[in-house]
Point group: C2
Chain length 295, copies 2
């Protein structure tokens, strides 16, 4: 059994731990009873998508009934939403590194307080693709920064700290195998660029601020492609870094909503985008079923 590795000696001395952004606390909630059986945690930006995922996985695992409503465990706050069915926890994280980082600090502490073991965490998200047909799914090999380095720069007490953003190689391969078995959409393993901004930070020409031209933009995206980047999103680096430090197996599975070599605006129809967003859910749902011996 592999437990959460908590990189913080101070927590042992605290009588009570309030997870403020979840509106949960060890003084008011019995974490081992509520969460002790969790084995799979799926996280994603949008609260409604994470609610849809819990209904989907419940049905897939034969644990729910169609039309059944799943209560939001974090109903006391609107910062994040959290749902649970059997061994699966589904949590939203908002957009960007700071937003997912707050959530992960509190999630890792939650799993630690609950004495969970052998946890797998998978981020299921959306992204912009580079050189891929829209709707393709990318399983992240390495998360890289805006200069294509597999690292995350953080500022701690005013000093810069560099952390590794590697993800579990074996888990990525297993997910790739699952996609082959499903055979419904194009899936690749590639590097994922993680940026702090959606517009200028990803070389878009359609933000409120843009001080470069189309040629410079395309050169940047081509350089990214040549370095192995296949998609761009805004959370994977700190996700990888924090899971690494906490000894948790982690993967990032994102669908690409457009091919950035061909444009910047997300202009596919609502229905097409909804179907694309179900692909990571399908893939990860199949992986969980298979891991539980239910395929």
């Amino acid at each position: 059994e592999k437990f959460i590795h908590l990189c913080n000696p101070h927590l042992e001395k605290m009588k009570e731990d309030i997870l403020y952004h979840f509106a949960l606390g060890t003084g008011t909630h019995d974490f081992p009873t509520l969460f002790g059986d969790v084995k799979f945690v799926c996280v994603g930006g949008s609260p409604s998508r994470m609610k849809a995922f819990i209904a989907y996985i419940a049905e897939e695992l034969g644990l729910g009934s169609p039309g059944c409503d799943y209560p939001n465990i974090c109903a006391g706050t609107d910062r994040y939403a959290m749902y649970k069915v059997g061994p699966v926890l589904s949590v939203s994280h908002g957009m960007g590194i700071p937003s997912i980082s707050i959530m992960l600090h509190e999630l890792i502490k939650l799993l630690y307080h609950a004495k969970c073991s052998d946890i797998t965490i998978i981020r299921i998200g959306t992204s912009g693709g580079i050189g891929l047909e829209p709707g393709s799914v990318v399983i992240t090999r390495q998360s890289v920064d805006a200069t294509f380095k597999p690292q995350l720069e953080q500022v701690v007490l005013g000093k810069t700290v560099i952390r590794s953003t590697n993800l579990d190689e074996q888990l990525a391969k297993e997910l790739m195998q699952c996609s082959k078995e499903i055979g419904q959409f194009n899936t690749v393993i590639g590097n994922t660029m993680c940026t702090l901004d959606f517009y200028e930070g990803q070389g878009r020409l359609d933000g409120a601020i843009c001080l470069y031209n189309e040629e410079e933009k395309l050169q940047y995206l081509k350089n990214a492609y040549d370095s192995g980047v296949r998609n761009i999103e805004m959370e994977s680096s700190v996700f990888a870094a924090m899971c690494n430090l906490s000894g948790v197996k982690a993967a990032v599975v994102c669908v690409t909503l457009l091919n950035r070599l061909e444009g910047d605006q997300i202009s596919s129809s609502h229905d097409v985008l909804v179907e694309y967003q179900q692909r990571p859910q399908k893939l990860v749902g199949y992986f969980i079923k298979k891991s539980l011996g239910k395929v």
Copy 2:
């Protein structure tokens, strides 16, 4: 009349502009009709707080009836929430620089497409205080980074760009005068430190990861205080930088939920926290009333 200054020559060439994270677009929505009369934009992290604000300001301005429901203009997405009454727009932005930056790119374009003029944008938020009684309100003089410099580092096409984070001095003074006239809570003008992380980035001892000790933490917070910092939050720097570039008058008004020199956990009762969070709303509500000649 002062219009929005759009720092992007490419937008003029676009036939249609889809504001993806608002689920609004110039091809589907008539922006001048919907938003042309907006003069005040209030933004804050939590969607439910921004909904509460629109009900509050509607009543203050005599534009609403008690119990009246305000529809979410961004109902087609769960990324952000937006409400409007008369000349006031209220928009949520989630947590952290990347999340508010996506929202601001689309908000600035929305105001530009709507041909709005003489706009004032105010962020009303929560923060951790340094050396202040909890519940105090801080009006930001300058937003500073984690090394106390009044700047924002952004990476654009892989290269670092430095932007100024100054805010409107006159507007800050006017808000301070309003607080004196209300006379209900302690308010100061001070610098606001903007960080990329809530736990390690703000020197907390209670995150999932903490590799420093209490003495180092306190030294860092005291250095921040000595440099003029009175509170810490996670959005002000990019808010100031983007409003500067777009020629929009901007202010940041945050209540402090705790004094970080005395602890890290937000452990006040729910009712006390709710009352604290109403203080920036009261202050900014009074300012808007006064600006419209209704005080």
